[in-house]
């Protein structure tokens, strides 16, 4: 198996410059950071898609229909008149559907988040615990055979503090 190269940076802008350079040269890169860098990354490397919104939408609509089905359907399954109101009353039905819209919308958002971010995953992966404190990491993965020197040179040029060739590091699950 190929090894990957993990470069650790102190400064975010250096990391982003290195990332841009490497991505331009056609490497697979992964950026690690202790804080969200979404805005900066998008600024540097171009915008990313947000698929979650579709799932949220589908979830909300499904929740709406689930609420309608639950309130109207169960009322029709066992007809019990109460309070001189119709079996199918608009107002309480809408209120119930409102809550289920939110509930199932949240559930779908949660599921799609787990799906897209590939969490939870407890298998061993390349990682360095310092990333969660104050280091930024840049991982160059994939078809690297014979090109380690070039990658490492680029990382060093951009100011990486530390460069490691790794298969799997201290990640504990």
């Amino acid at each position: 198996m190929d090894k990957a190269v993990l470069g650790l940076f102190t400064y975010a802008d250096e990391l982003l410059d290195a990332a841009k350079k490497l991505e331009g040269s056609g490497y697979d890169i992964t950026i690690f950071s202790p804080i969200p860098l979404g805005h900066e990354i998008e600024h540097k490397l171009g915008p990313r898609k947000n698929h979650i919104k579709y799932f949220t939408f589908i979830g909300s609509v499904a929740g709406l229909f689930f609420g309608l089905l639950l309130t109207l359907g169960t009322a029709a399954m066992y007809v019990i008149p109460r309070g001189g109101r119709p079996i199918w009353s608009i107002t309480p039905t809408l209120l119930m559907s409102y809550e289920t819209t939110i509930l199932i919308g949240v559930m779908f958002t949660l599921m799609s988040f787990l799906f897209f971010s590939k969490l939870p995953s407890f298998s061993k992966k390349i990682y360095d615990p310092r990333i969660n404190v104050d280091y930024f990491g840049l991982l160059i993965d994939g078809n690297l055979r014979g090109r380690y020197d070039e990658v490492e040179r680029i990382l060093r040029d951009h100011g990486a503090n530390e460069i490691k060739r790794v298969e799997e590091t201290e990640y504990n699950s």
């Binding site: 009322a75 029709a76 007809v79 019990i80 008149p81 109460r82 309070g83 001189g84 109101r85 119709p86 079996i87 199918w88």
Partner: protein, 259 residues
């Protein structure tokens, strides 16, 4: 095909009907003539005996936990010696638009085909919503497990279940008597006649102030009495559409009680 669709559409449309039933089987109604009521409370005692109501004792009564499904409200007007006392028996009014029914989350109280407001004791989880929403304060709660002293448990009515602790209950218009009357009528293949059913309070009233019957039957006594000019219903302005009709008491000086 179109017939089937029409049937489904009709069914769906019927779910939008207020009160749901297009026609009630009966509409049991109680008429109470306040002119005849002398506040003797025989009806209250009869209700205790018929419906297995526990006697809770003085301390609990002081906490306003007396169990009577039917109570005689007493209102005193004026100063001694010029005193007027007015009585009004109040039990569950079996509202057609009952606020309690919409409140219950588990369908423990609902409206049935006879126009009765029904309480299913063993479905009740005791959220108190019905009692809080009830504008007449007629619902009673089993605060404890009540026990009957030794020989008295033998006089419990087998047609009425003994309610568990934590359950709401109320006047049923003696639904067990309605059920048995309907049962008898069915065996004799005839409709229920006026006068077949007498709730315990009506049966025991010495002056005959309480009438009971089906107001949908134009020939019944209650239907006729309900046309009386003395007729009124309790808290009618709240739009709960109660099924108990009171006939005003006309006092000696021409004034009428209540209202």
């Amino acid at each position: 095909m179109s017939g089937l669709l029409e049937r489904i559409a009709g069914k769906l449309r019927s779910y939008r009907e207020p009160g749901y039933y297009t026609k009630l089987d009966h509409k049991w109604t109680m008429v109470i003539d306040l002119d005849k009521c002398n506040g003797c409370e025989a009806c209250v005692v009869a209700c205790y005996a018929e419906n297995n109501l526990p006697v809770v004792g003085r301390e609990e009564c002081e906490k306003s936990r007396a169990f009577s499904w039917l109570r005689i409200e007493r209102y005193v007007e004026g100063e001694y010696p010029d005193v007027k006392v007015k009585f009004i028996p109040v039990m569950c009014q079996h509202c057609m638009k009952a606020p309690c029914e919409t409140g219950c989350p588990v369908y423990a109280t609902y409206h049935n085909q006879d126009g009765l407001n029904v309480q299913v004791y063993n479905r009740c989880v005791g959220t108190f919503t019905c009692a809080t929403y009830c504008t007449y304060d007629v619902r009673r709660f089993n605060w404890f497990t009540y026990k009957w002293p030794k020989p008295l448990e033998a006089q419990l009515n087998p047609d009425v279940s003994v309610r568990e602790m934590g359950v709401m209950e109320k006047c049923t218009f003696c639904i067990q008597r309605i059920r048995s009357a309907k049962d008898t009528a069915k065996d004799e293949s005839r409709p229920v006649k006026d006068g077949d059913i007498k709730p315990a309070c009506s049966q025991s009233c010495p002056t005959g102030a309480i009438y009971f019957g089906d107001i949908q039957d134009p020939e019944s006594v209650v239907a006729k009495l309900a046309k009386s000019p003395r007729r009124y219903r309790l808290l009618e302005e709240l739009n709960a559409d109660p099924s108990v009709i009171y006939l005003k008491r006309v006092m000696g000086d021409g004034t009428s009680s209540h209202e």
